[in-house]
């Protein structure tokens, strides 16, 4: 049975030699030079004795979401092929991003079901819950899956908040039904 990676008590700072390549493979937050494995960040040295990988568990993460993290974003621009968003919150870290980061959502990554155009899936000002696919700016996002999509939207006519009504959104004031890619986390 494989054992868990062992956290050592050693705190590494950038430039500290944590091991050598004869002993371990360089893992996350390390790099090699002249056969030495060196820490890139401040953090705890974690050694996996089974896989022979040494990594640094970072003490402080930069405010850029990693691959697979869940973020909240507001739609700022809609085009035929893609949607541009302002990513303002990382749910997995409970961290606000100020100033927001730019995200991009390709038509292909909106949903598993068919949407005629990007305009049918999302509207301007919609707040989305999305997953990060590529953590480079602009962040490449995806809303495939029932837990991803709109979590809050306003009516394009009266600007009132839309309510979830089955698989669609409904404006109680205008009595209009609006189609969106809705998340299971929709707020109202």
């Amino acid at each position: 049975m494989a054992s868990e990676p062992q956290k050592t008590k050693a705190v590494a700072t950038p430039g500290d030699v944590v091991s050598v390549i004869e002993e371990y493979f360089p893992g996350k937050n390390t790099y090699t030079i002249d056969g030495k494995i060196i820490a890139k960040l401040v953090g705890i040295v974690v050694a996996n004795y089974d896989k022979r990988i040494i990594t640094i568990e970072e003490a402080y993460k930069p405010k850029i979401p990693q691959e697979g993290e869940i973020v909240y974003a507001i739609v700022t621009k809609i085009r035929d092929i893609s949607i541009t968003l302002d990513v303002f919150y990382i749910e997995t870290r409970n961290q606000l991003l100020h100033p927001p980061l730019t995200g991009s959502l390709h038509k292909m990554n909106i949903s598993g079901e068919y949407f005629k155009s990007t305009y049918d899936a999302y509207g301007y000002g919609d707040v989305l819950r999305a997953k990060v696919l590529i953590p480079k700016i602009p962040l490449i996002l995806a809303t495939r899956g029932r837990e991803y999509g709109v979590i809050l939207a306003r009516c394009p006519s009266c600007m009132g908040y839309l309510k979830k009504h089955g698989f669609n959104l409904y404006c109680p004031k205008c009595k209009k039904t609006i189609r969106r890619k809705i998340s299971s986390h929709y707020l109202i």
Partner: protein, 247 residues
């Protein structure tokens, strides 16, 4: 011994502040000095008091400054109006603009800029009290602030100045020695690799003096390097204790 009619080294071989020529001033480094910045550090080197703050990596504004293959590093060094004896105008001087560039170029080789394309790393340095060698102290503090912000780095950068007065090399010049001495040579090094990232010289130095100056600087830089690492570890262990006690 005299230099420009100011006695910089007395008959006993001591400097104006009582130090030996190869003695550096006492220093103190604190990591995580500011709560609002992503990373920060405070340094006291003799009478110098400097705060460095790092923001980022974050999105670049204006967007045309974004580089597609790497992060942009921006640095702003500024001196407070009350940092020197005679009030300094709060506007940016030519010297401050030049020092911002010099500090940025000294720190950039240590950062893995290629890991964050189309982003910017902003470094802000505020000199609260100046007494010679602010650029080197700023580099030392900014390097700690970068590590505190969680930015991947090859190594920390530490810096010190070596000067000359009456044909004697002096380590870590203070304000008077900087003003009345015969030369000033700020040096920044990445100690792990022994790589020089900043080397400036003002004044006339013989080749053997440069060799000697580098040797003196290296010894002092290793002490600063230990101080930088200690400051980062102290902050990390403090946070860890707080987290463990709250659990």
């Amino acid at each position: 011994m005299r230099s420009n009619n100011v006695v910089l080294i007395n008959e006993e071989g001591l400097r104006v502040d009582g130090r030996r020529p190869n003695e550096m001033r006492p220093f103190k480094i604190i990591a995580g000095y500011l709560s609002n910045a992503d990373g920060s550090a405070y340094i006291e080197l003799g009478r110098n008091k400097i705060v460095a703050a790092v923001y980022g990596p974050r999105e670049v504004h204006p967007k045309y400054l974004a580089l597609p293959h790497r992060a942009t590093v921006r640095c702003r060094y500024s001196m407070a109006p009350f940092s020197v004896e005679e009030r300094k105008s709060p506007g940016r001087s030519r010297r401050e603009i030049e020092l911002s560039k010099v500090i940025r170029e000294a720190l950039e080789p240590a950062i893995f800029v290629e890991e964050y394309p189309r982003t910017v790393i902003d470094i802000f340095i505020q000199v609260l009290e100046a007494d010679g060698g602010t650029r080197t102290a700023s580099i030392t503090a900014a390097s700690v602030a970068l590590a505190d912000a969680g930015i991947p780095m090859r190594d920390l950068v530490a810096a010190i100045a070596v000067g000359k007065a009456s044909d004697t090399l002096l380590l870590d010049l203070n304000g008077i020695e900087d003003q009345y001495g015969d030369g000033d040579m700020p040096i920044a090094i990445m100690p792990r690799y022994n790589l020089v990232t900043l080397f400036q010289a003002d004044g006339i130095f013989a080749p053997e003096e440069i060799e000697e100056a580098l040797k003196m600087a290296r010894e002092a830089i290793y002490k600063l390097y230990e101080g930088q690492k200690e400051a980062l570890k102290r902050k990390y262990l403090k946070i860890r204790e707080e987290v463990l006690s709250s659990e």
